[in-house]
């Protein structure tokens, strides 16, 4: 430092002993405040927009949540879970759907493990959707039908009820005392439910009085003296068990293991009417859905339903148990919302989802080991997995349908009984697979400028199908298509709809693939021709693979839109996910006022599945096979 000339000394910079005070950015440009200023209040116009949006958003959210938590009746979903998932598929044959679901889940697992380069979300989606489906019988057994509660009061007779029970099924009847929730907050059997049976106006009016009394604590429940008996009778009219409630012994119950499969009845007999009210609670009884249909089907299988004596001596007073579904009334708090509305749904979902994930995991391990084999074996397993995927569709269709006539192990289940999410998935999968070859052929035909006639025909077909609404094509498939083949129109409705949907999405797929063909550089075709490949080989080996790879994201969006378009078959008369909701809300009177909840649930199902598929499509666009060779 010593001998530098003065000029150089000036240029040297010597760090000061104390570091200068670091200059911090102004406090209002960093942190939460900074973020807010930058993103929400950067200008006065922006601030106005923020405040307006916030007000609307808060109003909307508070109204919606307030309604969803404190007023909405989600039991319409919980009680009809099986219908929503599998429709009116024969209950004894549900194992077939489970088997297919297990197979699909396992195969998805294997595919994840085996083709690690295939985007996992594809299979994860499949597994998530299947988790809703797997072990549907398991759902219906692990999640018993909600207990049926009927109010017994001195003023209204309890009408007899009948149901079909299976051999070995456990049915229990309990008499519960009504408890005033306001007086006794810890009470389990608070009067949250009212029984709505459309036939008995009497009991409804009485119960509304009771409820009013319970709410205002004007009803004195300590004076509990209802004398009556409840009896379980079998088809022959023999009493299996009787339960008598007296003022001394108010709460009792019995559980019966049913001796054989068939009709049973529950008959109540008032011994002495004094004051007092009680619940008769029935556990383990399957509640049916659409009454007449359910009764018809049970009659077919188990013979004529039994006639039970009417309390007033009249005739035809018997209710199906199905009609008595419970509805929540009164004020509700957050705790009730979770325990009564939300938790039944998720309780039903937990086990199936875990099982699905476990199966997929096992499949993944299997796939992983298949990948670690010598090369020839890997190639073999590759084609095996592909083959099984391709075989799965016809196999599951056959499995679901069964064999006509004496089916033996696989009795025939007509497609009219299919429904719910299962039908939606079938109506998406089969037409999409069928649309693919149709689309390729149409695209090749249209893109071919040499064969003018061929290209004209293909163009006309594509443009006509794309120019008319899908619903016209479905009506065509429903009303006209069968007459092309026979005078009786004997093809079932669901396959007809599949044909209609295939033609429709075939036209759209054709346009997508034509777009893909256009981006394959001409030089590729010419190089292939120069190498001496015939036109068929040029298409099969050179242009088509590149074209399809390029349009995979667009094809995915087509799958999403087909998935949404399947809702239209509900107009034509199939009970897929949306159609089954209409069946539920129109067929079961007690749910008629809860259409909103049901539509919201179905909308959410569509939303979630579509969002996942859309995100896969986006991923493919940026990183996946679609982007690989562009």
């Amino acid at each position: 430092m010593t001998d530098f000339p003065q000029r150089q000394q000036d240029l040297l910079f010597v760090a000061p002993k104390e570091a200068p005070q670091s200059r911090k950015p102004p406090a209002n440009t960093i942190g939460v405040v900074g973020w807010l200023r930058e993103n929400l209040f950067s200008s006065w116009a922006n601030s106005i927009a923020t405040v307006t949006t916030a007000i609307v958003l808060v109003w909307f959210l508070s109204t919606t949540l307030n309604w969803a938590i404190f007023n909405a009746e989600w039991t319409v979903v919980n009680n009809n879970l099986r219908l929503l998932l599998v429709g009116q598929y024969d209950q004894n044959e549900l194992w077939r759907i489970s088997a297919i679901a297990v197979l699909l889940t396992f195969l998805s697992g294997v595919s994840i493990g085996f083709w690690s380069q295939v985007p996992r979300p594809v299979f994860i989606t499949i597994i998530i959707v299947l988790a809703l489906l797997v072990f549907v019988p398991l759902i219906s057994q692990a999640f018993p039908p909600p207990p049926v509660r009927v109010i017994a009061s001195p003023d209204a007779a309890v009408q007899p009820m009948r149901f079909v029970g299976d051999e070995g099924q456990q049915v229990s009847v309990t008499i519960e005392q009504l408890t005033n929730r306001n007086a006794d907050p810890d009470a389990e059997n608070f009067p949250g439910f009212i029984e709505t049976s459309p036939g008995s106006v009497n009991s409804r009016t009485i119960w509304s009085e009771v409820r009013q009394g319970l709410r205002t604590e004007s009803l004195d429940l300590s004076d509990y003296s209802l004398n009556f008996s409840v009896a379980l009778v079998d088809a022959a009219g023999n009493t299996l068990e009787t339960l008598t409630s007296t003022p001394d012994r108010p709460e009792t119950s019995f559980t019966v293991t049913l001796p054989e499969t068939g009709w049973y009845g529950i008959v109540t007999d008032m011994v002495a009417s004094e004051t007092g009210y009680a619940w008769i609670r029935l556990d383990g009884i399957e509640s049916y859905t659409t009454q007449t249909q359910a009764v018809e089907r049970r009659t077919e299988r188990y013979g004529e339903p039994i006639d039970l004596p009417c309390p007033d001596g009249g005739t035809d007073c018997t209710n199906e148990v199905a009609q008595r579904v419970l509805r929540y009334e009164g004020s509700r708090d957050l705790f009730d919302y979770f325990t009564l509305q939300v938790s039944p749904f998720f309780r039903a979902m937990v086990i199936p989802s875990l099982v699905a994930v476990a199966i997929a995991f096992v499949g993944g391990v299997v796939g992983y080991f298949m990948k670690r084999q010598p090369r020839e074996r890997v190639r073999l397993s590759n084609s095996i997995i592909l083959g099984v995927w391709l075989l799965l569709m016809p196999v599951s269709y056959f499995l679901l349908r069964g064999v006509r006539g004496d089916g033996g192990l696989l009795p025939f289940v007509p497609t009219t009984d299919w429904g719910g999410l299962v039908l939606t998935l079938i109506l998406t999968a089969i037409p999409m697979v069928a649309a693919f070859p149709i689309g390729i052929l149409l695209a090749l035909g249209r893109a071919n400028k040499r064969l003018v006639m061929v290209s004209t025909f293909c163009t006309i077909f594509i443009e006509v199908v794309r120019g008319v609404p899908l619903i016209t094509i479905l009506f065509f498939a429903k009303l006209i298509l069968p007459f092309f083949i026979s005078a009786s129109g004997a093809i079932e409705l669901a396959p007809r709809m599949m044909i209609g949907l295939s033609l429709f999405s075939g036209a759209y797929v054709a346009e997508i693939i034509r777009g893909g063909l256009q981006i394959v550089p001409r030089g590729q075709t010419e190089a292939a021709q120069a190498l001496g490949l015939t036109p068929a080989y040029v298409t099969w080996l050179i242009t088509m693979p590149q074209a399809i790879r390029a349009v995979i994201p667009a094809l995915m969006s087509q799958v999403v839109s087909l998935f949404q378009d399947t809702t239209l078959v509900s107009i034509v008369g199939l009970f897929e996910l949306l159609g089954i909701v209409e069946l539920i809300v129109n067929g079961q009177q007690q749910y008629r006022s809860f259409q909103r909840e049901a539509y919201i649930f179905v909308g959410l199902v569509y939303l979630v599945v579509s969002l996942v598929m859309a995100s896969i499509s986006r991923r493919l666009e940026s990183t996946g096979v679609g982007a690989a060779r562009r």
């Binding site: 993103n39 929400l40 950067s42 922006n46 927009a49 923020t50 949006t53 916030a54 958003l57 040499r450 064969l451 003018v452 006639m453 061929v454 004209t456 025909f457 006509v464 120019g467 008319v468 609404p469 899908l470 619903i471 016209t472 009506f475 065509f476 009303l479 006209i480 007459f483 092309f484 083949i485 026979s486 005078a487 009786s488 129109g489 001409r522 010419e526 999403v560 949404q564 378009d565 809702t567 239209l568 509900s570 107009i571 949306l578 209409e582 259409q595 909103r596 539509y599 919201i600 179905v602 909308g603 569509y606 939303l607 579509s610 969002l611 859309a614």
Partner: protein, 512 residues
Amino acid sequence: MSDQAQPPTGSGDFFVLGTNDLSVSRSQPVQGSLLERFVKTPSFIISGFFLYVLFVIIFWAAIRGVIPQGAPTLVLAVWFGVIATLPLAIMTVVNTVVRGNRTKIPFYRDLVTIQEVIQLAFVFLVISTIALLIFNLRVNLADSGLSINFNVLSRDFGTEVSEGPDPRADLQFLLNVPVLGEQLYSVPIFAPDTYFRALAVGFVNTLRVVWLSLISSTTLGVLLGIGLLSNNWLVKNVAFGWVEVFRNTPLLVQLFFMYTGVIRLLPSRPDDALTLFDVAYFSSRGFYFPAVVYTPTSGYFYWALAIGFVLGVIAWRWRQRVNEQTGQPANGLNYFLSITVGLGLVGFVLAFVLGGTPILFDIPEASRFNFSGGTALSGEYMGLFLGLTTYTSAYIADIVRAGIQSVPKGQIEASRALGLRNMQTLNMIILPQALRLAVPPLTNQYVNLAKNSSLGLAIGFTDLFSVANISINQSGQSVVIFVVILLVYLAVSLLISLVMNIFNSTLRLKTR
């Protein structure tokens, strides 16, 4: 590179200099006289072929005499195919012979011949299959007592179409036409209460719901699209949520929700209806709002307004030309507005002076059981309108976003550097370019909207498709009605495409 832009030199020269795209060299001109060239163009061949097939169909009854009587439909269909493809086959043979003479290539090795034969086989197969299906259809429908009868359109429809123009009233004026009026009124197909009239009313209903939802969804979609790119975090995410939710839920679910979950839950009694300053009412029966009533002097006002509008448009275009030629500011909108509004005001004052107000509102009144006065949009209409608007707006928002994003960022920065204000940048730089890119997908969405309006059937709106559905159920004439709605929807789709294509061509980059 500049070579590419040059127009082709010499008249017969189809090569463009500097292009390495060999495809250009393929399109060699067809040789021969003008007539020969015309005859060989694909469009001539195709239209000629279809004309011929039409001819065969029309005279099928006569041609059928050739074919043995009582033949099964399969044989008939094959015969039909043979006769319909006959000229194509003759052309193929002649072409092959001529080409064989010229090129000396044996016909079985000539690629062109092979292609032509494949094409012939394809056309034969397609036509025979279609013929087979249609023959089958006729026989099968006749067997089930539903034989196809195109006269159904002039038959009595029976029920009333609950909504839309009154099919009886809107033809009444014909009766006043002196000579032909009465005859026209009684032409079966145009007569009131026919299937044709019912379908026409349904069609008007479709148009009524389509044009309004088209406007509303475009407005909402553009706002949302701009919102998607807003630098306001909240606005951006709300717009994003809207788009994702409404795009990923099926339209039918939205319609059911809007109708049963929103419209039907409104109070149904007129007394309880939600009201807007006692002028408009929302109830589950529909939306009631004031109607504009014609007065004796309305004519002055409306004519003045119409003339003002036309003159305003002319003035706008004139200003644009002035702007292009001289660079003076165009101010087209100002000219347009001042002329239109000015003339409208003149008309209004004139009407007022000559005899009372030209505009009169008929305000609906809620009584205990019904509404009186005003006009109404039914609950079904509102449900369909709401559902279509929310659904389509989500798609349009995404299109607008993509269009705006396609404008290079440098352009926006450059316009800022030039000192343009935000609105000016949006109006003069971003939107003109974004619109150019957005119009083709927008066309698609508009066509989709028109097609989706057919879902009104599900919530009970009597659009074209609902009326068609009723007609099919009543008459059993599925084929006839189906052909009609097919043609109408195709026409609507084509019309929208046409209008949008014209709009598109006016937006296209014009190089001077």
